[in-house]
Amino acid sequence: MHKLERKTYSISFVIPWLLIYGIFFVLPTLFSFYYAFTDWNLTSAKFSGFSNFVEMFQNPVFSTALTNTAIFTIMSIILKVVISLALAMALYHCIASNFFRTIFFSPYVLSYIAIGVLFTAVMHPEIGVLNKALRAIGLDFLALNWLIDKGQVIYSLVFIDVWKSAGFHLAIFIAALQTIPSDMMESASIDGAGPWKKFRYITFPMLASAFNANIIFALIVGLTKFDLVYVTTGGGPGYYSEVLKTLVYKQFAMGRYGLATAGELIIFVIVITLTVTLRKFLDKREVEV
């Protein structure tokens, strides 16, 4: 049977995928370990040691991009998880939950280019709908220069990203909530558990894997954010909303391929390190709760 099995499930089934994946994913990844150490540009690629990394770390825009990526990632993880969890709890108890889920999820199917352009209109400081609405309800102090103020812009981009993806994370929480056996809740009620206790000791632990999925997903998306920033602000004003991926693209567009590859390698190391660390931490917690 073993030989027959090997014949039936032959390697020929794997080859098409392996070829494409190997050539267009694995190979460039391996290449990047070499080209990051060259001065590769439009004409040549000579070995240049660590000079790309030295240049990168000395560039003040790089530290801005690194800080912005960190702010973007941390803020978007927290907001996406907290907001979508709150909404999921509300929807779970609401009789019209399917209707609202459909609405909250809908921005997630739109392209970032459409959303980016839309929000440059919505967030226009004088005539944008957002500020007009805030002024109308007396919250003038909240009517900020969303995409223009250099200290504000990265947070505005977080806001747009949360607007797009909250419904997606919400759907993951709802899917997990629906797997909680209802007799568990009923017996807790009979034993006299209030809403808070039920949330703390039943719902919250049962949601552990949905939490982990949402956090890891938001982490990877946040660290590699490109489209939204590029189309909405282009990294501006100045470099105040630059993130790592937009910085890499700009160097690529200037033909500085070696430098751009070094930038990608830095992102690679950050993503792998944080994902693996966070995953270990979350898996351990999942067992504890």
Binding site: T8, V14, I20, F24, F25, A90, I103, L110, L118, S189
Partner: protein, 275 residues
């Protein structure tokens, strides 16, 4: 039975959620009304209804932004990428799930790497040049397949666990060949997962902006997101046309979404939960 709160609680909840829904619906409405305004009215970016409906905005955008070409390119790019992802991922997952040996574990390591590792885009320039694929749709198709397929292989692999191996054995004993076994018996049983993979892959490829920006930034290969980007750069002050453009490229997706939302939400979240 889920425990329902008192009706008064339900009413409060529904009012609160409706108010929150406005955060989503007002921007959608904004796209719609402004796409039908005159340039002067649209430049106010307001929510007022247009004094006169300018249906001509749509045909104008179609012409100026060369949307028919971009629609065709986006469709070709999406359908070829997704078709190749579906077939190669299903085949790879089949062998990966059925065999329990070194090949199978090597494959699963490769797939896991593909789920976490961000693609090295700049060196792809070297690879594409080597195959003379720079600036071609085919190049971007292959990049999409390579970078997006690991999740599909992973999900197809999970799904195949539910299709009993006894089916394979029975077919083989009856004299069925390996390709016939897969394409005629196993693949049709994978219907539900194929639908899921189709949904989230096509949404992501259709909306992709990054790969086309890197590798298709000029000429006849424009896709919809890229056209929109260039159009906005050129006609940014003509807000009525910009909004008409947003509406034209978003409406098909939203329409499909509202018709098949149950499948789409399930499909797109399946991709994330298992990842």
């Amino acid at each position: 039975m889920k425990k329902r709160s008192l009706p008064i609680g339900q009413i409060v909840l529904i009012i609160a959620l409706s108010a929150l829904s406005l955060l989503i619906l007002v921007p959608f409405y904004l796209i719609f009304v402004n796409s039908l305004k005159s340039p002067a009215e649209a430049s106010e970016l307001g929510i007022a209804f247009p004094s006169k409906l300018e249906w001509g905005n749509y045909s104008k955008v179609f012409e100026v932004a060369n949307l028919p070409l971009a629609f065709t390119n986006s469709a070709v790019l999406t359908f070829s990428s997704v078709a190749i992802i579906l077939i190669t991922a299903a085949m790879a997952a089949f062998v990966m799930q059925r065999r329990k040996d070194g090949l199978s574990s090597t494959l699963s390591v490769l797939v896991m790497l593909g789920l976490v590792v961000p693609p090295a885009i700049v060196p792809l320039y070297k690879v594409l040049s080597f195959f003379h694929l720079n600036g071609t749709l085919l190049g971007v198709v292959l990049i999409n397949v390579a970078t997006r397929s690991p999740l599909s292989v992973f999900l197809a692999h999970q799904f195949l666990k539910s299709i009993s191996k006894e089916i394979d054995e029975a077919a083989i004993i009856d004299g069925c060949g390996k390709y016939r076994l897969f394409f005629r018996i196993v693949l049709p049983l994978m219907g539900p997962i194929i639908v899921t993979l189709f949904i989230f892959n096509s949404t992501f490829v259709w909306n992709d902006f990054m790969y086309v920006l890197y590798f298709l930034s000029s000429g006849k290969q424009m896709t919809l997101p890229l056209t929109m980007y260039l159009f906005t750069g050129q006609y940014g002050s003509m807000w009525n046309l910009v909004f008409a453009n947003i509406l034209i490229i978003s409406a098909p997706l939203l329409l499909i979404y509202f018709i098949a939302q149950r499948f789409i939400i399930a499909g797109m979240t399946a991709g994330a939960i298992k990842g």
